[in-house]
């Protein structure tokens, strides 16, 4: 590394795009189970494209709704507030995350596929483990690698020293820290801080590769960690660093995950992800 890139990275973080206003508002409403169609409508009013995308997602076979949904009000009745909120977040986040990431060797669509995959796998694991109070998990998983969008260009420019450091076999976030003084998890957390996201989501992003390093452990962190590693293993958005991340024994034990549960979710993951992405593909006809 020629000079410390930390300043340059900090500048990139500061100028990183924000996500649609609707996302922050929806997050603030997430805890209120009585959220009404009027309140949701007020948030979405000024973004017709967003509403159209939300309805397309609602009609994806992932949710298995019997008839075609034509309004947000109908979606709320059929899906319930929590699921609809996840869906609105997905539509908001896609604008930011659906990009190619050079440096990590992720062509257009792969980071997005990975983000969707980690979200549905995290949800699937939480359901298998019968966890409650983890409503923010979907959003945390969706955004866990947002930092790659900043660090990717720096990795691309330093491929040789990154590869040489990676060849020592240490976990890849440590490789990033050694070469750049920071890693994509830390960068992601700072982006989410700038977006004024809830603390729990920020910490799940911050510690998604090192759940044992978190000052306060939290099932949200542990599940995103485990879901991420599983998705890399089954090739959903795996980059040129491959599976070179450390899987935390502690996280597996804290959430009480069993082998059968892990493999059951893995077996379903591919079709869950395809169902959601298929609905997205129809957006740009």
């Amino acid at each position: 590394m020629t000079r410390s890139p930390k300043k340059k990275i900090a500048r990139e973080i500061a100028s990183f795009p924000s996500i649609p206003q609707a996302a922050a508002k929806i997050l603030a409403m997430l805890d209120n189970p009585n959220t009404s169609a009027e309140e949701i409508g007020a948030v979405l009013r000024y973004d017709a494209g967003l509403t159209a995308n939300i309805l397309k997602l609602t009609n994806s076979s992932y949710f298995g709704l019997p008839s075609k949904v034509a309004s947000v009000r109908q979606a709320l009745v059929l899906l319930g507030w929590k699921k609809l909120a996840h869906l609105i977040m997905t539509a908001c986040v896609s604008a930011v995350m659906d990009k190619a990431v050079p440096g990590y060797g992720l062509p257009m669509g792969e980071l997005w596929r990975h983000s969707i995959a980690v979200s549905v796998v995290a949800e699937g694991l939480a359901k298998e483990l019968e966890m409650t109070g983890v409503d923010e998990i979907f959003t945390a998983a969706l955004l866990h690698d947002v930092g790659k969008l900043v660090l990717g260009a720096f990795i691309k420019a330093e491929t040789d020293s990154v590869d040489a450091t990676a060849d020592r076999g240490i976990s890849f976030e440590k490789v990033e820290r050694e070469v750049f003084g920071t890693d994509h998890a830390e960068i992601g957390a700072r982006i989410l801080q700038n977006w004024s996201f809830p603390e729990q989501i920020i910490s799940a992003v911050r510690w998604h590769h090192e759940p044992d390093g978190a000052p306060v452990s939290n099932p949200l962190i542990d599940i995103v960690h485990v879901a991420n590693v599983l998705c890399l293993m089954i090739g959903m958005g795996v980059g040129r660093e491959g599976l070179q991340y450390h899987l935390s024994d502690g996280a597996v034990q804290r959430i009480g995950l069993k082998e059968g549960q892990l493999e059951w979710v893995a077996a379903n993951a591919v079709s869950w992800v395809e169902e959601i992405l298929l609905s997205f593909a129809t957006q740009f006809e």
Binding site: G105, D163, G169, S171, V229, L230, L232, M233, I234, G235, M236, V238, G239, R240, G242, L243, Q244, Y245, H246, L247, S248, D249, V252, L257, K258, E259, G260, L262, E263, W264, A266, A267, N268, V270
Partner: protein, 157 residues
Amino acid sequence: MKQIVAVGDMKVGTNGDILVTHALGSCLGLIIYDPEAKVGGMLHAMLPLSKINPQKAEANPYMFVDKGVPLLFKAVYGLGGQKQRMVVKAAGCGSPLGKNAMFKIGERNYTVLKKLLWKNSIILEAEDIGGTASRTVSLDLSTGQTLVKIREESKVL
């Protein structure tokens, strides 16, 4: 024709075809080829044993090593391939860092494969197995050449 083998899928082909699979992490990539008949196939299986999810195994047997491997051989026999001429190669079966046994799905995939092959007296001619790499594998059915690509580097398997 070039055909992509998705996760939990299998493809077979004849002279002139190329089979490719991407992003082999802990999944097993199995490549079989009869050099005389110039027919072959490729499997990209995710999990070792189908009993974990019988419903899924019914709908998609190629997701599992125990179901997918016999079906791959059968499909290539159907194209005129013969067991005694078959060249068999394996790639993938990687693992993340760390000691957690539950996440050694790649190792379990490999173990189930080896048992199946051993039971049927089939020799594994070449393999590129384990580690943390994400692999892309291709099989050229006109020559039988099998390439494994890690990062930007390809080598012949």
